[in-house]
Every structure is written in structure tokens, then in C-alpha cells.
Amino acid sequence: MKRWIAIAAVIAVAAVLPLLLNPTGYWIRILTFTLLFAAMAQVWNIIGGLANQTSLGHAAFFGIGAYTSTILLLKFGLSPWIGMFAGGLLGGIAALIIAVPTMRLQGHYFALATLAFGEVMRVIANVWTPLTGGPGGLSVPFMPPSVAAYSFKQLLPHAYIALIALIVVTFIFEAIRRGAMGYRLRAIKENAAAAEVIGIDTTKVKLQTAVISGVLMAMLGTLYAQVAVFFDPDTVFSAASISIRVALIAILGGVGTAIGPILGALFIIPVEELMNDLFSASAAGLSQLIFGVILIAVILWRPRGFITVFDAMVARLSGRAGS
């Protein structure tokens, strides 16, 4: 009961926060991207944290979602709300196609195979110019504001949509983790052979997680496209700025926990932005260097992620409340 009250309180605070910011401004854009990346890292966490399969190719699904909804909007005038589900379907199919041959791979081999898949998608988007606009990228057209058309002049609605998306994927993550599937995944993670022996269809469980993660990632791609308004193959299929970054957010925050990706995104996205703000005029490139140093320091300080700091704080607070 107490736990639910705490969750409701956090959501309430998160819901009020966007109202305090300039609705067309800079900080609301940072907030929106922070929430979106938290959601993306949470989705990655389903496969990377629960199934323990370190994917470095999630940009593939993400880009499929961004491109599907935007192409449907440009060519057929279809609302991105519908396009989002079409993208999710294609993302799920893509996840299935890549999961079948790669699920047997372990550790580094799996990571490398997924990395290659993301790159393949980037090349396809680059050369399939009639459909994707090629390297020139796609612009989401500037339309009169309307909820049905998913078009807003201000960023405020986008911030709320991103917040809702984060809440939804976090609940999905928790539901999987606590459910039968979570137990099966944990069994596989501990010892795949033993899991098989006790009757778990390991391939099936891994495929399920991969598809769920792929579908959700593609749907988030649509949200990103609607906020960023312009994207090209290098943006949405990027290994560095999407695939590796979402993995990094989840790992830095605390892999396999529901709060980890949120903590990771709350740290990484604003700090990265702050570094660019502080140093880009005087010594461009320095920001990335300092950002890298901070990341190394954080990982050395807390190898298991920010979640350990968070847990310690919660333990101290509840200990104090208890006594």
C-alpha cells in the first residue's frame, strides 16, 4: 500500500513539473527528450536487463518506427497515432527476424550481431530514396495543431505524451519482471541448461521478450519523430546516439531494475546538454571529453549503477521512519 502511495506521489510530481516550464522553451525540450530516452532505456531493459541479452541494435526498431509513421503521414496523410501501431507491428516483425538467428548467441556475439543489424537498417534507409528520402532525411510536415493529427505548436503536450509513454513501459517492464515470464527469464539468466531441464522453453521466452522490446521501441520511434520533426538515417539508426546510448542509460542507472533507466536518463541527458551549453562556444569537443570523463568516474564509483545510491537512500529514509 505504502509503495503505491509513493509511486502515485512520484507520478504526481512528474505531472506537475512540465507546467512550471516555458511551454515553448528549451528546458521543456530537454525534459521531453529525457523522458523519451528514459522510456527507450526501459524498453531496452526488458531484453538487456531481464533476458540479459545486451542488444546494441535497438536503433533498428526505433528507426523503423520513426520512418513508418512519418512515411504513412507524408504519403497517405495517416495520423501518426495510427502510424505508431503500424510501426510497432513492423518493429515486432523485425525483432522476430533478427531474434531467430541471434538468440542462440551469447554475450559479445549477440551484441555484435545486433550492432550490425542497426547498421544494415541505416544503409537501407540511405539508399531507398523514393521511400525514405535517402540521406536528405524526412521532415514531419507543419500542420495546424490538433490532438487527432498528433500536431502541436508547443512542446508541452509532447512532454506529457513522453511521460505517459514512460509510465506505460515501466509498468510493462514491472509486469514482466514480477510475472511468470520474469521467473523464466531469471532462470535462463542463472543457468540456461538448468532452465531447459525444468521445462522452460528458453527459445520461446527469449523470442517473446525480443518482440515485446522491438514493438515498444518502434512505437517510441514515432514519438521521437513527432518531437524532433526532422530526422535522417544517421539520426535514428545511429549506433552511438541511439543504440549505445539507451544501453548506457540503463546500465548507468541500474540494469534490470525499473528505476534504473529513469535515474540514468535523468542524469545523462541533462548533463550532456549542460556540457554542450557550457563549453561549445569556447572549446567545442571539450564537452564530449568531459562528459566521457564523468561517465567513467560514475561507473568506477557505482559499478552497479545509480540504483545502489537510490536504494541506500530509500533504506535510510524508511529506517528512520520505522524507528
Binding site: 521532415s139 520533426v229 546516439s241 569556447s282
Partner: protein, 407 residues
Amino acid sequence: MSKISRNRAGLSRRTLLAGAASVLASPMVISSARAQAKPVNVGVILPLSGANAQFGINSRNGIELVADEINAAGGIKALGGAKINLIVADATSTPTTAGTVAQRLITQNEVTAILGAFASSLTIAISEVTERRDIPLLTMSFADQITGRGFKNIFQVVAKASAIGKAQLDYSVALAQAAGSKIDKIAIMYEDTAYGTAQAGGLRAAAKAANIEIAMDDAYPLGITDTTPLINKLRASGAQAVFPVSYLNDSLLLIRTMRQQRITIPAIGGAAGYVIPDFEKGLGEFAENVLSIAPANYDLAPDLTERFRKRYGYFMVHEALEHAVALDVLVQAIEKVKSAKAEDVAAGLRGAKFTGGWTKAMTGGAVEFDSTGLNVLSVPVMVQWRNKELVTVWPKDVAKGSAVWKS
């Protein structure tokens, strides 16, 4: 990843110190300026890190030169001598980041206008933000989409990529003709970026219109490391002229491999990597006589551009020149409307013609925007490397020398 790591080497202790010092000094600069008329904030968003950093730095130098000159001459007269306060920010190589930076400059710094961002994809991302906030964006990026979306707050001082690609071919045909030869067969090589594909499109269309056979038409990935297969294909194609469109590193590799294999057909580059000092530094004698299309060239207005060379020690590359023109035009618009409010300035720019100052350095001798924000007076020029300098060789009426064309 390679994009990011490439320019890290340029980071020295001196830059670090300079960076730290300027961060510390910035509050003082702001407070001392406040004593006079309120300065006009102008956002400058450029790729200052990553693969295109050199182009970004060149552009920034051009803008700073003009801003300092205007400030030294008493600032903006219509606003009581208000100084121009440049707010420079790194666009990195990611369009989304460029968009975020634009949002930051608009909200935090209340900029009157934004200049940038060299690479077309970055400019497009910024324009999506500025258009929604009614902030004028002045650019020298030239992908066709920039002025093709019906935006009201974008102003492009140079011709479109398709027009530049067309000129790249048409001028070459004219040069060959002037040298008493004829082009029947050409090769096109371009990097698969927005800029490369758009310009290659213009080249292709012009070749078709002129009934010239395209014996080779190859895209290659940005940052290619081995161009030998491309050059072998070029040799086998029997083309009489080659049209490579690329940024710097690829241009060095392509021309070096070609010349080492003793392929001597004329090479006509597509601006970007072919018209900066690093091209000649990287290639030495191989650079001599390489032609390139360019949206503008410094030798058309030496009285203006020599000021750049004097301050920075190298010739005023076209991106620096065009960004200088963009700032000059912006200041002229502010003087005209007597306001630093973004909407007023945008209205002053729309459909207007600007003469004098830096606009004299452009072909057409002035800048005039049409309803899409395109400068209709700008015509590309053909330049040729001669003894470490770029000489304008076509069109005839502006040429400063005649072309060397050996087929």
C-alpha cells in the same frame, strides 16, 4: 563513432585554458556591454566538433570578422549604436542536437536571428525550430529542401544544390568547348549524404539535358578509406571528365589515388572539400589545376576578403564569405526596420534586396530574397587551383583568369 574521434586530436591545453578563461570572463563582457545600448544577440550554430569542424570554424571566423568590424565602427546605428553579441554554439553532427541548441538560443539568449549551420541536415533541423518560433535563420547550406518547404523565416544567400550541380556540368562543358574539346562521357562520384546526393542529382539532370553519357554514377559512404575500386572503375569507364562531390577527407583520397594512377582527365569538384586550403595542403602539386564549382569565391572582391586573410592567415573560403554576407544582410535588415525584434527583422528580410557591404562579394553584386527565401541573384562560379590559390575561371563576365583544360 569515427566522426567524433577524428577531431579530438585538436584539443590542446591551450584550448582548454582559453575555454576556461572565456567562461570566467563572459560575465564581465556582458556587464560592460550593458552600459550602452542593449546589444543585439545573434545566434551562431555551427558544427565545431566532429567531421565537419573545420568548415564550422571557417564559418565562425567569417562571422566574427564582420561582427567585430561592425562593432568597431560604432555598432548598429538605428539602435543607438547597439553592439552585435554573437552567441556561438556547437551543433555537433546530430540534427536533433542542432535543433535543441536552436531552442536554447531562442529561449535563453533571446536571439534576434540565427546564422548557420553549414551542413544541410543541421540547417533543416534548426529551421524546424526557428520556423515555429518565427526567428529568421540565415544560411549558406544549399540542399533543395531548405527553401523547398514553404518556410517563411529562412533566408539562403547562395544558389540551390540542384542549380550548383547543374552549373558544375554546364560550366565544364563550356570550358571544354573554349579549349577546343568536347565532353561526351562523364563520371559522377558522390558521398551518400544530403549534400552529395542533392548535388549529384543536379549534375545528372544537366548531363541528361545536354545529352552527355554518364559512364559512371557511384555513391560511396562518407569517410571511405579505400578509393582504389572507385578509381579503377573510373579508368574502365572511359569518362573524359570526373565530377566528385565530397567533403575534405574523401576529396583528398580520390584525387591522390587518381593522380597516382596517372589518370589526368579534368576533375571538377563539388565545392566543400575541394575549395579549402587543406585541400592544397593535403595534396601539394596534385591539387594544381583541379577545378571545382563554388557558390562564391574570394577573388571576386579582394578588397573585402583580404581583411580575412590578414586576420586569420589563410584565404577567405566560401563558407566564411557567405556567412559574412549573411551577417551583413541581417544587420542591414535591422538598420532598415530599426528593431531587433525577430518578427520585424524577418519581415525586413522577406523579399528584400540588399546592396553594398559584403553583398558586393557575391556574384550578382547584391542579395535579393524571393518568397521562398532564396537569393535569386547568386550564381555559382567555377574555380581552379593555381599555385595555392583559387582563381575564378567561369562564367566569363566575372572570371579572373582563363582555365587550364587538358583532356
